[in-house]
C-alpha cells in the first residue's frame, strides 16, 4: 500500500504537461461547449479527428483513453440501442423480420451459456458481448426453422442510426477531453487551477481558497485512510470476520466492524490535525500567501484563442449551415 497515487496522473513531457492548469480547465470547458453546439454528425466527426490530433501531438497513448472510456461502455451501448430502436424518421436502412422459434431459442440459450462461461477468458470482453448480441440478432433474422413462437418487424431508420452515432461520438469526445486533463495534470495543480478559476465566487461568499485547502487535505489523507482501512480489515479478519461470505445479517455486522473504527480514528485524526493547523498559526478565512504559483505563458493564450476560434466556428456552422 506504499504507492497509492490519487487520480490518474501519468508523468510526461509534452506541451499538455507544460500548460497552465487554468488554461487546460478553460480549454476543456470551451471545447465541451463546442461539442454541445454541434448538431450534425459529419461536423462532430471532424471534431473527433481534432481531439485525436491533440492526443497524437500530446503524446498520449490512445489505449490510456480507451481505458478511461471503459466504465461508460455500458452507458454508450444503452444509448446507442435506445436511439436506434426509437427514432423512426428518415430513410429505412434495414428492414427484417425477427422470428423466434423453438429451435433457435434453444440455440440462443446455448450461445448465451457459451458466452457466460467463456467470457472470463476473452481479452476484450465488451467486443465479445457485442459480437454475441449481433450474432443472435442475425440468427433470429436468417435462421428460422421449426415452429414459430413469436415474430416481429425490426426496422432501422437512417435518422436513428445517425442520431445514435452522433450521441456516441459526442460522449466519447467529452470523456476523452476530461481524461486528457486528468492524465496530464497533477491533482495538486488541478486543485490550484480550480481555486484560481473559482475565485470570482468569493463575491457570493464562497471561499475558493478554503475549498482548495479542504481538497488538498483530502488528497493528502486518502492514501493514509486506505492504508488504515486495510489494517482494520485485517484486524477484524483476525477476529473471525470472513468478508468473503456470510448472510445479509452478518454482512451488516461486518461493515459496522469496519466503519466504526474508521470513524473513531478519523475523528481523532481530524481533531489532532485541527490542533496542528491552529498551532501553526492557521486562522480560517484569513488570507494566506502561497508557494505554488501558476505561470500563464504565451502558449496558454494561444491555446485559449484557438479554442475560442473553434467555438465561434461551431456556432457559425450551427447558425449558417
Amino acid at each position: 500500500m506504499k504507492n497509492i497515487i490519487v487520480g490518474q496522473y501519468v508523468p510526461g513531457k509534452s506541451f499538455l504537461y507544460k500548460m497552465d492548469p487554468r488554461s487546460k480547465i478553460l480549454a476543456l470547458g470551451i471545447l465541451m461547449v463546442s461539442a454541445f453546439v454541434f448538431k450534425d454528425i459529419t461536423h462532430i466527426i471532424y471534431m473527433l479527428f481534432g481531439v485525436l490530433l491533440i492526443l497524437k501531438i500530446g503524446g498520449i497513448p490512445i489505449m490510456r483513453i480507451a481505458r478511461g472510456l471503459r466504465p461508460i461502455m455500458i452507458l454508450l451501448l444503452f444509448t446507442f440501442s435506445f436511439q436506434v430502436m426509437f427514432i423512426k424518421t428518415g430513410d429505412v436502412v434495414l428492414e427484417t423480420v425477427l422470428t423466434l422459434t423453438y429451435i433457435n431459442l434453444g440455440l440462443m440459450v446455448l450461445i448465451i451459456l457459451g458466452w457466460y462461461f467463456t467470457r472470463t477468458y476473452i481479452k476484450s470482453r465488451f467486443l465479445f458481448l457485442i459480437f454475441v448480441i449481433l450474432g443472435i440478432l442475425t440468427m433470429l433474422s436468417l435462421f428460422t426453422p421449426g415452429i414459430t413462437i413469436s415474430s416481429s418487424n425490426f426496422v432501422v431508420y437512417e435518422d436513428g442510426l445517425l442520431g445514435a452515432s452522433f450521441i456516441m461520438v459526442r460522449l466519447i469526445i467529452i470523456v476523452t477531453l476530461s481524461t486528457i486533463l486528468t492524465l496530464t495534470t497533477k491533482p495538486t495543480d488541478l486543485n490550484l487551477g480550480l481555486e484560481k478559476i473559482l475565485r470570482p465566487l468569493n463575491i457570493v461568499k464562497i471561499n475558493s481558497e478554503e475549498i482548495a485547502l479542504i481538497i488538498s487535505i483530502a488528497l493528502r489523507y486518502i492514501p493514509t485512510l486506505l492504508d488504515e482501512a486495510n489494517k482494520i480489515m485485517l484486524a477484524q479478519a483476525s477476529r473471525g470476520v470472513d468478508f468473503s461470505e456470510g448472510k445479509i445479517k452478518d454482512k451488516v455486522m461486518q461493515i459496522i466492524s469496519l466503519l466504526v473504527p474508521m470513524f473513531i480514528i478519523s475523528f481523532k485524526r481530524s481533531d489532532d490535525l485541527a490542533n496542528a493547523m491552529e498551532a501553526r498559526s492557521f486562522i480560517p478565512g484569513n488570507p494566506r500567501s502561497r508557494i505554488h504559483i501558476l505561470a500563464w505563458e504565451n502558449r496558454d493564450t494561444i491555446v485559449i484563442i484557438f479554442c475560442i476560434v473553434v467555438l465561434i466556428s461551431t456556432i457559425a456552422v450551427r447558425v449558417f449551415l
Binding site: F282, S289, R290
Partner: protein, 268 residues
C-alpha cells in the same frame, strides 16, 4: 529572563476532575526543560494550554511578557512551535515542501523568502532530497523532521516537543533527540514532554508532574539526587541510578564507581 511564566494554572476536562491543578512554573529563555510524567499526569494538557489550544479554568500564562488570552493567542502562537506525538496527524501538506510551507503561508511570508527557507531548513533536517515526496512514502522519523523544519521556518523562539519521539523506532528517536540538542545550542528555548527519563536527563532542568500537580522542579542533577521524590513519582528509574541508590543504601562508598554511574545516568 523568563520566557514563560505559569501562575496557579488549573484545567479540568470533566467537572471536578482536574487534569492540572494549581501548576506554577517559570521557563527561562534559552533553556531546555523537560516535563516528565506518567501517562495521564497532565503533561500534554499543559502543552496545549501554553499554546492556547485549550482554555484554562483558572490561572495565567505569560509568554515573553504577554498574557495569554483570546486577543493575544495568535501573537503568542507566533512565538511557539510545537511538534506533536503522532507524525501522521500533523502533516498538512500534500508533499514535504507544502508541509514546510504551511505555517509560513499562514503568516503571509513572501514567496521568494518561503522558497529560500524551505531549501535552508529542509537541508538542515536532512530532508532536501525528499521535498517533492508525499507523506505516505516517509517514515515516522522523517515526518517529524519535516514538522521541525516547518517550525524552524516560522522562526519561533520556543519549540515544544510533545512526546514527539514516542511513536518512533529507536533510530528515529535518536535522530530527533540529536536535532533537539542542536536547536537548544543555537539558542532556542526547548520544552520536551516525555515519560522517558532517558530523554529527560539530556535537558537542563526537569519538572516532574504527577496526577496534575508539580511534584518537583529543579536542575537535572538535583532531581536525580532526590531519591524520595523520584521513588514517589510513578516513573521508572534509570538503571545506573537504581544501582547507585542500591550502593548508597548498602553504604558502599566508592567515589570512582559513583562518578561513573552518575555520568551513565546523565547519558554521557
Amino acid at each position: 529572563m523568563n520566557i514563560i511564566e505559569i501562575k496557579d494554572l488549573s484545567f479540568a476536562y470533566r467537572e471536578e476532575f482536574f487534569a492540572l491543578n494549581d501548576v506554577n512554573l517559570t521557563i527561562k529563555r534559552g533553556e531546555w526543560i523537560s516535563i516528565l510524567g506518567h501517562n495521564g499526569s497532565g503533561k500534554s494538557t499543559l502543552a496545549k494550554l501554553i499554546i492556547g489550544l485549550l482554555k484554562a479554568e483558572k490561572g495565567e500564562i505569560y509568554v515573553d511578557g504577554v498574557l495569554l488570552n483570546e486577543e493575544t493567542v495568535h501573537e503568542i502562537r507566533r512565538k511557539i512551535g510545537i511538534v506533536f506525538q503522532n507524525p501522521d496527524n500533523q502533516f498538512v501538506g500534500v508533499t514535504v515542501e507544502d508541509d514546510i510551507a504551511f505555517g509560513m503561508e499562514n503568516l503571509n511570508f513572501d514567496r521568494e523568502d518561503m522558497l529560500n527557507k524551505i531549501e535552508e531548513y529542509s537541508k538542515k533536517v536532512n530532508m532536501f532530497e525528499y521535498l517533492k515526496k508525499e507523506p505516505h512514502n516517509l517514515s515516522g522519523g522523517q515526518k517529524q523532521r519535516v514538522a521541525i523544519a516547518g517550525i524552524l521556518a516560522m522562526n519561533t523562539d520556543i519549540i515544544i516537543f510533545d512526546e514527539s519521539t514516542s511513536m518512533l523506532d529507536p533510530k528515529g528517536r535518536e535522530s530527533i533527540m540529536e536535532y533537539i540538542r542542536d536547536l537548544n545550542k543555537e539558542g532556542k528555548t526547548i520544552i520536551t514532554i516525555t515519560h522517558d527519563m532517558k530523554e529527560a536527563v539530556n535537558s537542563d532542568r526537569i519538572v516532574i508532574l504527577k496526577d496534575g500537580k508539580v511534584l518537583a522542579v529543579g536542575e537535572t542533577n538535583t532531581i536525580l539526587n532526590d531519591k524520595e521524590t523520584l521513588n514517589s513519582s510513578n516513573l521508572e528509574l534509570l538503571l545506573p541510578l537504581k544501582l547507585l541508590y542500591k550502593l548508597d543504601e548498602a553504604n558502599i562508598k566508592n567515589e570512582k564507581v559513583k562518578n561513573i554511574l552518575w555520568q551513565l545516568s546523565l547519558n554521557k
